[in-house]
């Protein structure tokens, strides 16, 4: 009878631990499932952020000074430099900025090295966006070329 009582005590101790772990595990699984359903694909988010490079006058898009009209997907070669890119987009200088979207931009035939945002690390490129067809305004000519955007985070 003594062994009986000891056996039952041990059983209920272990059962208590297993039941507690099961309930916590259940809550964690629900939480992980919720997070997976709510996640936005990072390629999509990067694409939306990178739109500004070719569409916004505050980035590389050409703006006619006489009419004030901005030409989407037309690059002003005078804006194609690191200073303009920093004005257009930069992430936090803290460690958090490294985990954010950081971009490297190349325009075929017009950039010798990639233009990089402040926390972009060349050998930590996570993925690249599909190449985009753009035009570069060279005097009165519009030269067709491609823009490549790489993301590190």
């Amino acid at each position: 009878m003594v062994f009986d009582a000891t056996r039952k005590s041990l059983y209920w101790m272990m059962a208590g631990i297993v039941i507690t772990m099961t309930i916590f595990g259940f809550a964690m699984i629900l939480s992980m499932f919720q997070n997976s359903q709510l996640a936005t694909p990072e390629e999509f988010e990067a694409e939306i952020i990178a739109l500004r490079f070719t569409q916004s006058e505050d980035c590389f898009a050409y703006k006619d000074l006489k009419t004030g009209r901005v030409f989407p997907s037309v690059i002003d070669p005078l804006k194609l430099n690191k200073d303009q890119l920093q004005r257009c987009y930069q992430t936090s200088t803290s460690a958090k900025g490294l985990k954010d979207f950081n971009f490297g931009v190349e325009v075929d035939g017009f950039t010798q090295t990639p233009l990089m945002t402040n926390n972009f690390i060349l050998n930590r490129v996570k993925f690249e966006l599909p190449k985009k067809k753009v035009f570069v305004k060279n005097g009165d000519q519009f030269i067709e070329t491609q823009m490549k955007v790489s993301i590190s985070r």
């Binding site: 039941i19 099961t22 919720q34 359903q37 952020i49 569409q55 505050d58 992430t91």
Partner: protein, 132 residues
């Protein structure tokens, strides 16, 4: 002696049934809490507003976006580098979405229990959150 053993068995059986009932009840409570919370809605809203701000930055000139859907249950504040959302009534836990805008942009705005909410970008590089 024999009746004592039978009595103990019955007691143990009742005890086990109570424990199982308690575990099932707790599992259902946790699942119900997840299903009825507004966390998913707040998270989706914050993501949507973050993407809308980035899209407006990329849109030349003056633009207005009307968020589709009834936002009456929520309070929303737009600050320079983030948008924050919490429930107007109920849980006060907030969800924040960060974003980075070009230098020279000013972001501001607050809506409280508004059904229709708009984001407007002006020619002066201001993005405002307001009632439509």
């Amino acid at each position: 002696m024999f009746s004592q053993k039978k009595g103990n068995s019955a007691l143990m059986l009742m005890f086990e049934i109570i424990i199982v009932g308690l575990v099932v009840f707790m599992a259902f409570s946790i699942a119900e809490k997840f299903a009825t919370s507004q966390t998913s809605n707040k998270y989706n809203l914050a993501n949507d507003f973050g993407l809308m701000v980035n899209t407006l930055v990329a849109s030349p000139g003056h633009a207005i976006v009307n968020y589709p859907g009834d936002l009456t249950p929520f309070n929303i504040v737009l600050k320079q580098n983030y948008v924050e959302i919490w429930e107007a009534e109920g849980s006060k836990s907030t969800i924040k979405k960060m974003f980075d805008v070009p230098i020279g942009y000013k972001l501001s705005g607050f809506t409280e229990k508004q059904k229709d909410v708009c984001l407007e970008k002006t020619l002066d590089r201001e993005i405002k959150l307001r009632k439509c």
